[in-house]
Symmetry: C2
Subunit: 430 residues, 2 copies
Amino acid sequence: MNDPQLAPTDIAAYMADVGQRARQASRVIASAASALKDRALIATAAAIRRDRTRLQAANEQDLAAAQQHGLDAAFVDRLRLTDAVIESMAAGLEQIVALPDPIGEITDLRYRPTGIQVGRMRVPLGVIGIIYESRPNVTIDAAGLCIKSGNATILRGGSEAIHSNRALALLIREGLAAAGLPQDAVQVVETTDRQAVGELIGSPQYVDVIVPRGGKSLIERVSRDAKVPVIKHLDGICHVFIDDTADVDMAVRVADNAKTQRYSPCNTMETLLVARGIAPRVLPRLGRLYADKRVELRADPASRALFEQAGIASVPATDEDWVTEYLAPILSIKIVDSLDEAIAHINTFGSHHTDSIITNDHAHAMRFLREVDSASVMVNASTRFADGFEFGLGAEIGISTDKLHARGPVGLDGLTSLKFVVLGTGQIRT
Amino acid sequence: MNDPQLAPTDIAAYMADVGQRARQASRVIASAASALKDRALIATAAAIRRDRTRLQAANEQDLAAAQQHGLDAAFVDRLRLTDAVIESMAAGLEQIVALPDPIGEITDLRYRPTGIQVGRMRVPLGVIGIIYESRPNVTIDAAGLCIKSGNATILRGGSEAIHSNRALALLIREGLAAAGLPQDAVQVVETTDRQAVGELIGSPQYVDVIVPRGGKSLIERVSRDAKVPVIKHLDGICHVFIDDTADVDMAVRVADNAKTQRYSPCNTMETLLVARGIAPRVLPRLGRLYADKRVELRADPASRALFEQAGIASVPATDEDWVTEYLAPILSIKIVDSLDEAIAHINTFGSHHTDSIITNDHAHAMRFLREVDSASVMVNASTRFADGFEFGLGAEIGISTDKLHARGPVGLDGLTSLKFVVLGTGQIRT
């Protein structure tokens, strides 16, 4: 099926075949030795470096089609397999090799009064379906994390990257074969037909979890229609709250970084909350910084008054602003009377993604950590740190704002579950 | 709403009100001090003992109605609040008090190269909906676990137990009030209208997870229609595999216990697998034991031959038997050629609940633990141990055979999730 000329026509039958192969391969890779999984990753990394030119030739087909379809320059950029992107894919696999194998780890093994020992063993989820958009490097990142965590994976990339993804899939399969692991442990869906997504997310018998990566509309559609559990986040409406006792320099530095280091990531700040007492000392300074970077300020009346005194332009914030993820040089700003008001605002209007307090008050820091109901809560740090690599997970397959299972950046552990193990010496229950 | 005379008529509006109250109470109880949560449980236990007579009077109304509706004796038995059941409810709450508070625990807090510290904090899920059938003691068990884990809960018991459940709910609310906690942290649904279940499982804005407890049809219905995540198990098709190297006495003792200690629990063995080499030494002995206890044996041809030689009655097993949860004195039996065949049988026909190997072969034990894809996997122990209390969880709110989030018996931890916490000193991302 890896020849682009042989794209399947009966999508339901094709996806059932892919699903069955994945399920079968998952049983083998689930108990594969760590050394074999690492060998597959190392062999794939070597093949990627070896075949750079061939990968770029396949990528050219996608780039030509994208340009022909008039897709914009930013889109074409994300699609392009430059030398640097190819090297980073290979290096990323080697980073995953360096992580400890999570599978088979037994924790908390304790004797019970009956004489049995009870503990928990970390095991793969089984088959992971990844649905993503244009960037072909996701193919390698996701496959690498799934192989290391003993899962089979079905990759459904964007139609715009189909030639690149197919070429990458061949190299992953080569790596799996070199380690003696089943090639079907990683499959790239060989059709751009949208029905394939419907089959994938509707097949709990073949797929244990779906990870959609891409824009909000993709994630909403997948979540709404899926019959398989979905690991996802919809919005990243992240807050920084500058408390009265904050160090002003630190507050300015962090609030600047959280908004302006990059505008498009989901962990970029969208709303700045400032305690009333400190506002006259931080808002004019911050306002000037943002104005210099052409960040539009949508402010509540109290903040606007401070901006006006300092000669900084702002527009009135509406109720809509508190629930909007701009992903752009726009920031909403509100002055609050207390920590309680800040926490209530975040829990009510935020998206439970990432929120940070800047404070020197220990009790406030501890209350913020405990009471803000978000996947990542921070004290005196930029929201931009909410990322699998920065958190030390090695890499991430996505970020979850759901409460069940994985929450926050999802690394290898999020692709596993814990089962109970019981070691006895013939005990029976009486 | 606690007067039975005031049962609501507009179910949608009533359930929305219950949901909003629960959501609001969940924010308070989520960060309540351990001592207050424990005080609420202790006060409830005292109130239960104090009001034994009043509880039994309420229970009498349910018992009279059940008898009037011609419900069978076993059903009426489960419904009855005897002195012993009432004492066990109070004692159960005191056992929950003795468990450590899981909430707020921070683990794995480590420095990253950027200077930030990253760890994980255990937090409540929010609002738990419990849907259960006749046994009113679930009202107390579930409320106790939810209070301790900082969750609000909405309890929807069976209509046959409505008077008992209302009486118990009053005592829980009394306990919450005594500790200064919001009474709405535990609400019993005040209507037996089935629409209430539909509203409960269809309201992700108010409810974070549903735990259905009861028969398979209840759980299937809830799972199919829920828009809220469900923690559940559908079937308990549990296996014992007697390996060639097993100690024969141990094998007989465990296989007897796993089937006959009680027939109705979900962790009772339904299929016995026996390695071909040891079968002539264990099956006649086991067959006689089972026959004495009037357990019907549904066996494959090889097992039947051994039973016949020993003069033990059996019937032929059909393909249907391998996928049937009898919950009755019936056992399916199959002789297998290898550990591989045993594992494949369990993973193919089992329900991923609880499976045990009896063996003296260390490598076989380790492979069984790793490769059997079930919530609880055991070596040399009876499947009947798969239970929150036996596992040391203190109590259980249910058992999950799903792979995401909780797997196996679900105790306090299963009612929590982990969020990331980041402690910085002003770090920004560069």
